[in-house]
Amino acid sequence: MILNEEQLMLKETVAQFFAERAPIDHLRKLGEGSPAVPYDQTLWSEMVALGLTGIAVPEEFEGLNFGWMAVGAIAQEAGRRLVASPFLSSVVFAQNVLINCGSRSQIEAHLPSLLSGEKTASVALDEGRFFSPETTSIGESNSGLRGVKTRVLNGQASDILFCVAKRASGRLGVALISSSHVNVNIQAKRSMDLHGHARVILDGVSDADVEWLDGDTLEVGLTKSIDQTTILLAAEMMGSAREVLERTVDYLGEREQFDVKLGTFQALQHRCAQMYCELELAESAVSAALTGLDHNAAGVSALASSAKALANDCFTLISSEAVQLHGGMGVTEEMDIGLFLKRSRVCNQLFGSSTYHRDRFARANGF
């Protein structure tokens, strides 16, 4: 539930690194450019040099095995600066799909280039309007893989795509495809939070050009990877929520109206106190979920659903309140508050809304 000394040091290092190397201005600059560039390549190289690609990887695969609480701490610090990078999409999601779903030889073949930063990968999972990981209309067939994948995070900059599709047997599978394949058409997009994702059109990728992951625990492994990424996204959202609450409390402590600091008004104090309660409550659910990953606990899916639903609700509340409490300034581009607002709504759609997770939680608990 808490960080050990080693992990605390890592958190401080990463916090300082992001503060110096990834201020929110950089994200704004990125947003002015082409959506084909979803993150700053130099920043990413520096993150690789810090060792962040191997942070969650077991030692048997040459990783640092720092523990999921540590990965959560990095995600939180990234969240504080709204950092755009392949940390969640490649390091957390794609690498763990490979580790959890691939065979040993597949892991040994593909993981090293991801760890070294030579390549990045994305998982092509979503298809419909809403997150629904159990359903796909793309299947193995004689005419090759055909269909459209959406919300592929940083897909426009990825070398490898892990595409979730149905095997001929009717079960879910994961197809490893090169993003430069002639029948893979990638449309780069940027969402309103200035982060990048892609729409990936598979136009008959023949079986010869596909490597199906064939680890022993493929289906369980896919669910596990999704749960891991859901929890880490929740951790990132908590970092953003904490940052925007702190900015709001600071602002109320400076801004004067009616000859007093706004922060002296009890109505506003109570709203901030409520937000802080929600923040630490959700943070506790996220810490418990990260700890669940560290202990490989049973019931991680329920922990993941709790963490994401509480993070969604909390970040939605705090970012909305932050805009309101910043008054007129809250709706201007002069401040970054609006970016936190937009980021929260984008995150809500990624890896499941609160509606999705409450339903999944209820089912897992027998109602």
Binding site: H270, A273, N365, F367
Partner: protein, 403 residues
């Protein structure tokens, strides 16, 4: 104490509990069978009396208090072992008493030797039942505004005034009170902490009917009551410090109260299945109730996880002093959310507290719903909690400090 010694203590404890706690006292507690002690104490059964007396003689009604005052003299580690083994066996708490939870811990810090000897012993032997006299009709959240006066009359104090929300004072023997002994400012500086025998002439108590149909709380009146000066705890006009020490324990007690209360006839999930039913897919038939229940259960679980975080932080000497400030507000409001879900699920069976055609267990739930409206009021209202969080956790400026 070494691990081996602690293991041995555990083995001894298990053996002692097995020998002394009758099977009937290992059943979940029901309210009517709680043992509150006091001059007028009654035991619901021979077994209950046997269990109480065994604990009393061993000092296990107050395991961590020094044995010279009737406690068990256990170290915190030993007390934890005892608690764990009692929980494992399902042993009922041997004694319920505000003296045990609140006054005792404060007396250990602020009481003088004769006071400790007299009162601590009587508390853990279950001989004296205590009530708390803090709030007054004009002093609720603004506790320091209390008006009950104790005048110095040489060899005694003369007490006049009234105390409200004195829990079960109609059954108590003694009451610990905050009284005004000086009009100096700030108001907190004129308050003293006084112990009053309720059998003294001039003390009277009347129960207050509550919206739950019960009258747990009373109002107590003091009309020219003579109180010996030896009953002053701590310094004259130094009562606020004692009160703060005691409130700390009240909050801790409210947090730990869970296992000591009667369990409801059905847990929320079971109740929802019973009352609402499921659709073809096995989901609760009321989709909105289902989603709200999931939300509540997640938050309830997160409350426990917040508690765990605080625990582990403390152990690792990384304590974040802000987190404990959130527990009361979050915990009590979530408890009320649960009550509202219960009432929604009950439907037509949730509209009466006394209709005999509805089972007693369900009616108790409805009463609990009404009673629990006090949770966000007693022991520091939610509004006061939010004030504290804003100031102490978030460092927001107070109104007096105008730019």
């Amino acid at each position: 104490m070494s691990n081996e010694e602690l293991d041995q203590f555990r083995a001894e404890t298990t053996a002692w509990l097995t020998a002394n706690c009758p099977p009937s006292q290992r059943q979940p507690i029901v309210r009517e069978e709680q043992i509150w002690g006091g001059r007028r104490r009654v035991f619901p059964s021979k077994d209950a009396q046997k269990w109480f007396e065994a604990c009393r003689d061993k000092g296990y009604t107050a395991p961590e208090w020094p044995s010279e005052y009737g406690g068990g003299g256990l170290s915190p580690a030993q007390a934890k072992v005892l608690q764990q083994e009692m929980t494992k066996m399902g042993c009922r708490p041997p004694l319920y008493c505000q003296g045990l939870w609140m006054l005792g811990p404060a007396l250990l810090v602020y009481g003088n030797e004769p006071q400790k000897r007299e009162h601590l012993t009587a508390i853990c032997r279950g001989e004296i039942r205590w009530a708390q006299g803090y709030s007054e009709p004009s002093a609720g959240s603004d506790l320091a505004n209390l008006k009950t006066k104790a005048e110095d009359r040489g060899d005694h104090f003369l007490v006049n005034g009234t105390k409200i929300w004195t829990t079960k004072a109609d059954e108590a023997d003694w009451i610990f009170c905050l009284v005004r002994t000086s009009d100096s400012t700030p108001k907190q500086a004129g308050i003293s902490f006084l112990l009053i025998d309720m059998a003294t002439e001039g003390v009277s108590t009347s129960p207050i009917p509550l919206i739950s149909g019960e009258s747990e709380f009373c109002q107590t009146f003091f009309d020219n009551v003579k109180v010996p000066k030896s009953n002053l705890v701590g310094e004259l006009n130094g009562g606020w410090a004692v009160a703060k020490e005691l409130l700390k324990h009240e909050r801790k007690m409210m947090a730990a109260f869970d296992g000591m209360l009667e369990k409801p006839a059905m847990e929320l999930l079971e109740l929802a299945h019973y009352a609402v039913g499921v659709d073809d897919s096995g989901a609760l038939a009321d989709g909105e109730l289902r989603a709200d229940m999931a939300r509540h259960l997640m938050r309830e679980k997160a409350m426990g996880q917040l508690g765990e975080r605080i625990y582990w932080q403390g152990k690792a000497k990384q304590a974040d002093h802000r987190l404990p400030l959130l527990m009361k507000h979050l915990g009590t409001s979530e408890a009320q959310t649960k009550d509202e879900l219960i009432l929604r699920a009950l439907g037509d069976e949730g509209v009466s507290m006394d209709d005999p055609s509805i089972s007693e267990g369900l009616r108790k739930m409805v009463k609990q719903w009404a009673f629990n409206k006090a949770l966000t009021i007693a022991g520091g209202t939610s509004e006061v909690q939010l004030n504290i969080i804003a100031k102490r956790a978030l460092g927001m400026p107070s109104a007096e400090a105008k730019s």
